[in-house]
Amino acid sequence: MIASGVVAYTFRWSVVSESIGEFGRGLLVTLELSALSLVLSLALGLVVALARLSPLAPLRLVAYGYVQIFRALSLYIYVLWIYFGLASAVGVNLSPLAAGVVALTALNSAYMAEIYRSALAAVDPGQREAALSLGFGRVRAFTTVTLPQAVRIAVPGLVNQFIDIVKDSSIIAIIGTLDLMGVANQLVSYYRAPFELYTLVAAFYLALVLSISAAATMLERRLQRHLA
């Protein structure tokens, strides 16, 4: 309990320099968690998007249900459900990191499926027809003509999703990963300097997010080069 009053607070910024090494290790875990989830949800999202566009009605229905359910849940509830609930009900004991990757992938693949779906729909159908009339098979027309154009359209949306993954990955710390957030919580209980340490962790996330946006702007410019 903190006595409320006008006692001036003494900032202890030395804590920051003392703990920067720990934060470096936390940063690596955050990057690992985010990168794994990004790659897996990029792949799974595409599969779900294709299932939603499939001519088979049951497949479409399953994919639709997947998207609706995972977009309605919050990551925190889903992590608790996988890490504690599923573990005891099915006997699958995942490490906090693995549970985090599963939860982040399931949630973000649902959003990515919608981004891919609208991008695939935005590719001029004439392109596919032209490929087919040139003798391309359906699979080849998709992989060499439609998909590359769709990915280009999808990039800005996918980048926003990646930024969400990085920010949301902080939630995984609650079940015990030592990512940026987990390290911050640990150090706060050690140094008792919550303001300094949480400000530092905020700065880390902000720097990550701004770097990703900057990299994305460069990537988008590069992808548009052929149009210039």
């Binding site: 607070y9 849940l73 609930g85 006997g91 920010k167 706060v188 919550p194 303001f195």
Partner: protein, 222 residues
């Protein structure tokens, strides 16, 4: 290794009223934070559109800064960090509302900025031609149209905040996730209570999405 798990829904069903009270806390905390985020968002959007660099630049920086920091960091930062520095003890609900409002306002600011920009210039010129003051032009002509444009994306922000509100139990707000954890701690049955809150959240999100569709339909111009 796999001991068959016996599902025991009793504790969840017996404590349905605790879940209902918890869910209600999530909803009203979200509602208040959303309203405050809208007010703050309009102010920031006006700053950004003011044409004065001294106002526009800080507003831009605020949006970039806040959007780059996870909600969980804000929750801890407000509840533990700010509280110590300024020597005020926030209740966990107050801290939750402040954190959700901060996060939400950066997004609503961008929505209002786009919506204000999307209102036809011709309407502003017509109002000026009719002798409206700048203030009346904004209040009677521009703002109501901008709000109509902003409603669908604002609805998405509301749902985003509702999902974010499920985090507030980490600083001790007795919301529905908190209740689920209490049941898990008392009965060691994690699957059932966490499934219950997942279902409640899905239902709440579906209900608000339906409400939003209704509002959009009511606001649609004939």
């Amino acid at each position: 290794m796999t001991v068959a798990y016996t599902y025991t829904w009793g504790p969840v069903l017996d404590n349905w009223d605790a879940f209902a009270r918890g869910a209600w806390i999530d909803v009203w905390v979200t509602g208040i934070s959303f309203l405050l985020a809208c007010v703050l968002g309009v102010a920031i959007a006006l700053f950004r559109r003011s044409g004065l660099r001294g106002l526009a630049w800080p507003a831009f920086a605020y949006v970039q800064l806040v959007r780059g920091v996870p909600l969980l960091v804000f929750l801890y930062w407000v509840y533990f960090g700010i509280a110590i520095v300024i020597g005020v003890v926030f209740t966990s609900v107050q801290a939750a509302i402040i954190a959700l409002t901060l996060t939400g306002s950066a997004y609503t600011a961008e929505i209002f900025r786009a919506a204000l920009g999307a209102v036809d210039r011709g309407h502003v010129e017509a109002a000026a031609a009719l002798g409206f003051s700048r203030r009346d032009t904004f209040r009677i002509v521009v703002f109501p149209q901008a709000v109509r444009i902003a409603v669908p994306p604002l609805g998405n922000i509301f749902i985003g905040l509702l999902k974010g509100s499920t985090l507030i139990s980490v600083i001790g707000v007795p919301d529905m996730v908190f209740q689920a954890q209490q049941i898990n701690l008392s009965y060691f049955t994690p699957f059932e209570p966490f499934t219950a809150v997942a279902l409640i959240l899905v239902v709440l999100v579906a209900a608000f999405a339906a409400l939003l569709t209704g509002v959009e339909r009511a606001l649609r111009l004939p």
